[in-house]
């Protein structure tokens, strides 16, 4: 259906011959833009409705009885469905520690929450298909699980700012939202996210379309192909400062994959964009000491790099 619309728009309405570079580029652009926006609206809305059932208070209660391993795994799962904007990272961290959750379990939650990001998920699904999107989710959970376990084993409780342990949390009775309120919340949330990312999506797909139409294959293979053993490391280092532009970078990466960029390198790049972000690190600095911040960043980066090589080897 979308394919038909894109075809008739470019080849019939605008009148460019199929098979030409310009025709391919435009067709790719219109088809992908329409597909991605449809997916974005649907999935962000559904995710928001699901999230309205898992407030952080609930995550805290659910995790309360579990220690290592099971706790880390549950935390990684809850990190995905619990809603939280990066400003809430501090109160959430304090709330978890205050209720007696182990540091490692708390970190599993803090890693998976940004690492498995619904916008990145949609972009991957729309541009690479559901298998890659699923693989990305599983990878995010795995990185969060093992990252939390390692931080737990290192016994770094003394690297949490002292005041965190002194805070006493109050009780807060919240009414259970009605379905009308959940839908209202999901509608507002979807609108907010779209407003934030649409420009990156359009620019990213536009740029990706240009690569798709004009960049020769040898170019990508030469610099980032299987022949370059450092490609994954470089991809992860490049990805860290690119935070929040997952929406714009994934279409570019997709075009590069089409030109021969290995999938593991691509996945590692995308994971590093969403999982480690400067703004979040700055916020977390309020509750943990610089040394723990560095250990946390290092563990997540290394885990992502391993994942990248692993996928390059098996895919």
């Amino acid at each position: 259906m979308l394919k038909y619309l894109a075809d008739s728009l470019v080849y019939t309405l605008i009148g460019i011959q199929p098979g030409t570079r310009l025709g391919d580029t435009l067709n790719f652009f219109f088809y992908d833009t329409a597909k991605v926006f449809l997916l974005l609206i649907t999935i962000i809305f559904v995710v928001a409705v699901i999230r309205s059932f898992f407030p952080p208070e609930r995550a805290r209660k659910l995790l309360g009885h579990h220690r290592e391993y099971v706790g880390n795994f549950l935390a990684a799962l809850l990190g995905i469905v619990t809603p939280f904007c990066s400003c809430s990272a501090v109160p959430m961290f304090i709330g978890f520690i205050e209720s007696g959750l182990p540091l490692g379990v708390t970190f599993s939650f803090l890693i998976s929450s940004p690492a498995v990001n619904e916008v990145a998920l949609v972009m991957l699904w729309g541009l690479f298909g559901w298998k890659i999107a699923l693989l990305y989710t599983a990878t995010g959970i795995a990185v969060a699980f093992f990252g939390g376990i390692v931080i737990g084993k290192l016994k770094l409780e003394h690297l949490v700012e002292e005041y965190v342990y002194q805070i006493k949390m109050g009780e807060c009775e919240m009414a259970v939202p009605t379905w009308k309120e959940r839908i209202e919340y999901a509608r507002g949330y979807t609108k907010d996210i779209l407003k934030k990312v649409w420009i990156f999506v359009v620019l990213g797909i536009g740029f990706g379309a240009l690569i798709h139409g004009y960049v020769p294959m040898d170019f990508v293979l030469k610099y980032a192909g299987p022949g370059n053993p450092f490609a994954v490391v470089v991809a992860v280092l490049l990805g860290v400062p690119l935070y929040s532009n997952a929406a714009g970078t994934i279409p570019i990466v997709q075009a590069l994959v089409g030109k021969g960029l290995p999938m593991g390198t691509a996945l590692a790049f995308m994971m590093s964009i969403v999982a480690i972000s400067a703004p979040e690190l700055i916020i977390l600095r309020n509750v943990i000491k610089p040394k723990l911040l560095a250990i946390f960043t290092g563990i997540v980066a290394v885990a992502i790099i391993i994942v990248g090589y692993l996928f390059n080897a098996i895919l």
């Binding site: 407030p55 809603p83 304090i94 205050e98 005041y163 805070i167 109050g170 807060c172 919240m174 507002g188």
Partner: protein, 75 residues
């Protein structure tokens, strides 16, 4: 009446505070709006998600920027 806006002062918190101001103005009630930015104080309300809004010390909504209409209903 006293409205407390709980949040570190990010964009969402500021928007919530602005909406609260508008709601109070529209209703014409006597109302004081206080911004609570200290993390210890925010936690003492039992809130883990910001922005949150409390009226006379009772938390009414967490983790969401309420619209002017929604705040009017709370007043």
């Amino acid at each position: 009446m006293k409205i407390q806006i709980l949040g570190s002062g990010c964009q969402n918190c500021m928007k919530l505070a602005k909406n609260a101001e508008e709601a109070v103005k529209a209703k014409g009630t006597e109302c004081e709006i206080v911004k609570v930015t200290d993390i210890k104080e925010i936690m003492s309300y039992g809130v883990m998600q910001t922005p949150a809004i409390a009226i006379d010390g009772k938390v009414k909504s967490v983790g969401r920027v309420l619209s002017v209409e929604e705040i009017k209903k709370l007043l």
